[in-house]
C-alpha cells in the first residue's frame, strides 16, 4: 500500500514542465531587445512586479474581467483556476503541517490522502479536511460548467467557441479527469479508512459499502497521477499553455514592453498567452453580421502559434479593434495583425535573423513584393498659414463635409490654408494598414515636408484615418486635430456662435478616431452643444465598425454592406433624426445602409451656424491660433 510508484507520472510531468518553463522563459528573455531586457530587469525589482502579482491574482486566478462580462463564465474560470490554486496552497500546507516531515516533495501534498489515509477524522484536521473537500467541490462545480459549455456554448452566452486540435483534446480530457479521479481516489481511500469529510468521506462510505474499495483505490490514484502527468506533458503543445504564459505576459506588459513593429519574444508570448476563449469571435462584426467565421483573432493567433498559412486570415480583418477591447488576456491583436501584414516588407537579412533567433519561423505566409515608389511626387512650396486644413482623400468624395468645414472656419474667422484643395497626397495610413510601412514612409515624408514648410501651428483633418497617422507616425511641430476637436476648441474659445437645432441625433464613433485615437468626448461635447445626443447600445470603445474600413483588403462589397446595415440598425434603434459620424468613409458607407439621414459632425455644426451677415463676417478680425491657445 505504501508503493509510491504511481506518483511517477505526476513527478515526471511536474519536473518536465518546471524545467521547460525555465528554459522557455530564458529563451524569451534572451531574444528580447536590449531595452526590453532592461525594462524587465528593472520591473522585477520595482512596482511592475507587485502590479503583476495583483493583476495575476485578479485576472489569472479570480478572472474578474470575464466575471464582469459573464458571471457564469467567470465563475467557471474562477472555480477552476482559483480553486485549483487554493487546493495546491492548502494541500501543501496540509502536507507540511500534518505530514511526517515539514518540507515535502510536491507529490506528498498532491497525494496527501494516499500517504495519510486516516488523517482528518476529527478535530482541527477534520475541519481542514472539510475545507479541502469544499475546495474540491468548488472546482468540480466549475468543471461541470465547463463540460456544459463544451457541448452547449450558447448557455454560457457564447455564440461561437474555438475548435480544438488533437493535442488540445487529449490535454482537455486529462484536465477534466484530474479532479473527478482525485475525488474518486480520495473517496475510495477514505471509504476503506473511514476518514474524509462531507464529500470524500460520505462518497467513500457509500462506495465502500458495495465495492472492494481497497482494491479499487490504487487504480484511481494511478489515474489521478496519470491525468496530472499527461496534462503537464501536453501543456506546452496545447492551448492550456496559455495559463503559465499569461503570468509571464502580465509581468512583461507591466514592465512596459509593447508589441512594436516586428515579431519578437513579446509577440510570441502573446501568441501563447491566448486561451482561445473565443470572446473575440462573438464580438466580431465580421462573424455575426457578415457570416464570416474563420478569420477572427482567436484563429489568427492559433494560426500564428501553429505556423499555418494565415495570409488570408491576416488580410481579412476590418482592424476595427473591438476584439482587442474585449480580450481578457489583453493581447494587442491589431498590432499583431499589422506585423503579419508587413511580412512582404522583410528583407532577406531580417528574415534570417528572425529565423535564427525566434522560435517562430513564419515562412509560409511570406510574400515579398516590389515596393511602391512615389518618386514622381513633386516637392511643394506651400504658402504660410497658422491653420492647415487637410481634408483627406475620402473627404473629397463627401464634398458637403468640405463645404461645412469651410463655412465653420470662415464663420469663426480662422485663417487657414486648404492643403489638399486640388487633391493631395495620401496620408500613408492605408498603406500601413496594408502592411506597407516602408512605402507609407515615403508619403509621410512628403506630407511632413509640406506641413513643416507651411509653418502651421494646427493641422486640422476631416478624416480619422489621416488623423491617426498624423498623430502617431508624423513628426510635426503643428498640433494635429480632428475637425471635431477643432470645432470643440472654437466653441470653447467662443469664436463660433451656434444656434440649437432641436434634433435628436446619435453619434457613431469612427474606429480610427475612437478606439484608434481615444477621441470620444470632443465630438460628444460638440454635438451636445447644438443638438440632443442620444446614446447607443454600442458606443465609445465598443462602437461598431461601419464596414467600410480600409483595414480590410479582401472583404467584398456585399459583405461590407451587411456589416454596414447591421451597424446602422443598432445605431438607429432610438429612432434619431440624424446619424452623426466624424469620418467621410463611415458617412459614405452608412448613407447606403440606412434610411436615416447621415451627416458628418461638421455638417451638423454648419447647419447650426446663424445665417451669414456680410458686414459681420468682414469685421471679425482673423484669429491667430497657436500652441498657447490650445490645450495640448
Amino acid at each position: 500500500m505504501n508503493s509510491e510508484l504511481f506518483t511517477l507520472p505526476f513527478n515526471l510531468g511536474l519536473y518536465f514542465i518546471l524545467i521547460y518553463s525555465v528554459v522557455r522563459s530564458t529563451v524569451w528573455f534572451r531574444n528580447l531587445s536590449r531595452s526590453d531586457k532592461l525594462r524587465l530587469q528593472r520591473g522585477f525589482f520595482g512596482r511592475p512586479f507587485m502590479d503583476s502579482l495583483r493583476e495575476i491574482s485578479m485576472e489569472s486566478l479570480l478572472h474578474l474581467k470575464i466575471f464582469r462580462k459573464n458571471p457564469v463564465l467567470g465563475y467557471m474560470h474562477m472555480s477552476l483556476a482559483f480553486g485549483w490554486f487554493l487546493l495546491i496552497v492548502f494541500g501543501t500546507i496540509e502536507a507540511d503541517f500534518f505530514g511526517e516531515k515539514h518540507l515535502n516533495p510536491p507529490s506528498h501534498a498532491i497525494f496527501f490522502r494516499w500517504f495519510n489515509p486516516d488523517h482528518g477524522a476529527e478535530g482541527f484536521a477534520g475541519i481542514y479536511s472539510f475545507w479541502m473537500d469544499l475546495l474540491l467541490a468548488f472546482i468540480l462545480s466549475g468543471l461541470l460548467l465547463a463540460i456544459i459549455k463544451r457541448f452547449t456554448p450558447r448557455l454560457m452566452g457564447m455564440k461561437k467557441t474555438t475548435k480544438h486540435t488533437w493535442t488540445d483534446r487529449i490535454a482537455l480530457t486529462s484536465l477534466w479527469l484530474i479532479f473527478p479521479s482525485r475525488l474518486l481516489a480520495e473517496s475510495f481511500t477514505c471509504g476503506v479508512h473511514g476518514s474524509g469529510s462531507f464529500l470524500t468521506g460520505n462518497l467513500g462510505n457509500a462506495l465502500a459499502s458495495f465495492l472492494p474499495a481497497a482494491d479499487i483505490a490504487p487504480w484511481f490514484w494511478w489515474l489521478y497521477s496519470l491525468s496530472l502527468g499527461t496534462f503537464f506533458f501536453l501543456l506546452p503543445v496545447s492551448r492550456y499553455f496559455h495559463i503559465p504564459v499569461e503570468l509571464f505576459l502580465i509581468f512583461m506588459r507591466n514592465s512596459g514592453i509593447s508589441t512594436g513593429d516586428r515579431h519578437s519574444s513579446y509577440t510570441e508570448v502573446q501568441t501563447h498567452a491566448c486561451s482561445s476563449c473565443g470572446v473575440c469571435i462573438s464580438t466580431c462584426q465580421m462573424s455575426y453580421a457578415a457570416g464570416i467565421h474563420d478569420i477572427q483573432s482567436a484563429y489568427f493567433i492559433k494560426g500564428l502559434r501553429n505556423d499555418r498559412d494565415i495570409a488570408g486570415i491576416t488580410a481579412n480583418c476590418l482592424m476595427c479593434g473591438r476584439c482587442e477591447e474585449v480580450c481578457p488576456v489583453g493581447i494587442e491583436l491589431g498590432p499583431m495583425r499589422l506585423i503579419e501584414r508587413r511580412q512582404g516588407e522583410r528583407s532577406d537579412r531580417t528574415l534570417k535573423l528572425q529565423e535564427k533567433y525566434s522560435l517562430m519561423r513564419r515562412r509560409s505566409t511570406l510574400e515579398r513584393r516590389p515596393t511602391q515608389s512615389y518618386r514622381y511626387l513633386v516637392r511643394e512650396e506651400p504658402e504660410k498659414a497658422d491653420v492647415l486644413f487637410f481634408a483627406g482623400c475620402m473627404t473629397h468624395l463627401t464634398p458637403s463635409v468640405i463645404v461645412a468645414m469651410k463655412k465653420i472656419m470662415d464663420s469663426a474667422g480662422v485663417r487657414y490654408r486648404f492643403m489638399d484643395e486640388n487633391g493631395g497626397v495620401c496620408c500613408g495610413r492605408p498603406l500601413m494598414l496594408a502592411g506597407r510601412d516602408r512605402e507609407a514612409r515615403e508619403l509621410i515624408n512628403h506630407n511632413s515636408d509640406v506641413i513643416w514648410k507651411s509653418g502651421a501651428q494646427i493641422l486640422v483633418t476631416s478624416c480619422p484615418i489621416c488623423y491617426k497617422v498624423f498623430r502617431e507616425s508624423y513628426y510635426l511641430e503643428a498640433r494635429v486635430m480632428h475637425h471635431s476637436e477643432f470645432i470643440n476648441l472654437l466653441i470653447e474659445e467662443g469664436s463660433l456662435r451656434l444656434g440649437y437645432l432641436h434634433k435628436k441625433v446619435v453619434y457613431h464613433d469612427p474606429c480610427e478616431l475612437g478606439r484608434g485615437s481615444g477621441i470620444y468626448e470632443e465630438p460628444r461635447a460638440v454635438i451636445s452643444y447644438v443638438a440632443e445626443l442620444q446614446s447607443s447600445e454600442q458606443e465609445r470603445n465598443m462602437s461598431l465598425c461601419c464596414g467600410g474600413s480600409l483595414g480590410n483588403l479582401t472583404l467584398s462589397s456585399g459583405k461590407r454592406a451587411m456589416i454596414a446595415a447591421d451597424a446602422a440598425r443598432t445605431l438607429t434603434l432610438g429612432l434619431p433624426d440624424e446619424l452623426i459620424t466624424a469620418c467621410p468613409l463611415c458617412k459614405k458607407t452608412f448613407v447606403q445602409a440606412t434610411e436615416t439621414k447621415v451627416s458628418d459632425i461638421a455638417e451638423l455644426v454648419a447647419a447650426a451656424l446663424p445665417a451669414p451677415r456680410r458686414e459681420n463676417a468682414k469685421k471679425r478680425p482673423a484669429r491667430r491660433h497657436s500652441r498657447a491657445t490650445s490645450n495640448g
Partner: protein, 119 residues
C-alpha cells in the same frame, strides 16, 4: 527611337506594340482572379482613374492596368503597380463593386512572385 544605333545601317528594327494574346502570360491574371474574384467585374468605366489620388501626380491608371492584366501584358504592369497609394478612393466610386485595392495588392504580389519564379 534613337537614331544613333550602333549597327552599320544607322537604324534598327522597331519593337512590336502588338498585344499578342496567344503568346502573352496570363498567369498574373489567373492569380489575381483567384485572390480577388471581383476583378472580373470591371467594365472599364474609368471611374477609379478619374478619382485616383496618385493619378493626380503621375500616370497611374487602374483602368488601363486592369486591361493589361486581362490581356496578359505584364511589362507595363511592373512599374504601373508601384504607383498606387492604396488610399481606397477608387473602392468607393466603383460602380461594379470591384475590390480595387486588393486588385492592386494582388497585382503587386503577383509581380513579386513572378520575379521569384513562384507563379
Amino acid at each position: 527611337m534613337s537614331i544613333a544605333q550602333s549597327n552599320k545601317f544607322g537604324f534598327t528594327i522597331n519593337r512590336s506594340r502588338l498585344i499578342d494574346y496567344d503568346s502573352s502570360d496570363r498567369k498574373v491574371r489567373e492569380f489575381i482572379t483567384l485572390k480577388e474574384p471581383s476583378f472580373r467585374l470591371c467594365f472599364a468605366c474609368g471611374g477609379c482613374t478619374a478619382t485616383c489620388t496618385a493619378g493626380q501626380h503621375t500616370s497611374f491608371n487602374l483602368r488601363r492596368m486592369n486591361t493589361y492584366i486581362r490581356r496578359g501584358e505584364i511589362e507595363p504592369l511592373r512599374e504601373e503597380v508601384k504607383r498606387c497609394m492604396l488610399c481606397g478612393k477608387c473602392l468607393l466610386v466603383c460602380p461594379r463593386g470591384v475590390n480595387t485595392r486588393n486588385v492592386v495588392a494582388a497585382a503587386a504580389d503577383a509581380i513579386g512572385k513572378l520575379e521569384r519564379n513562384e507563379l
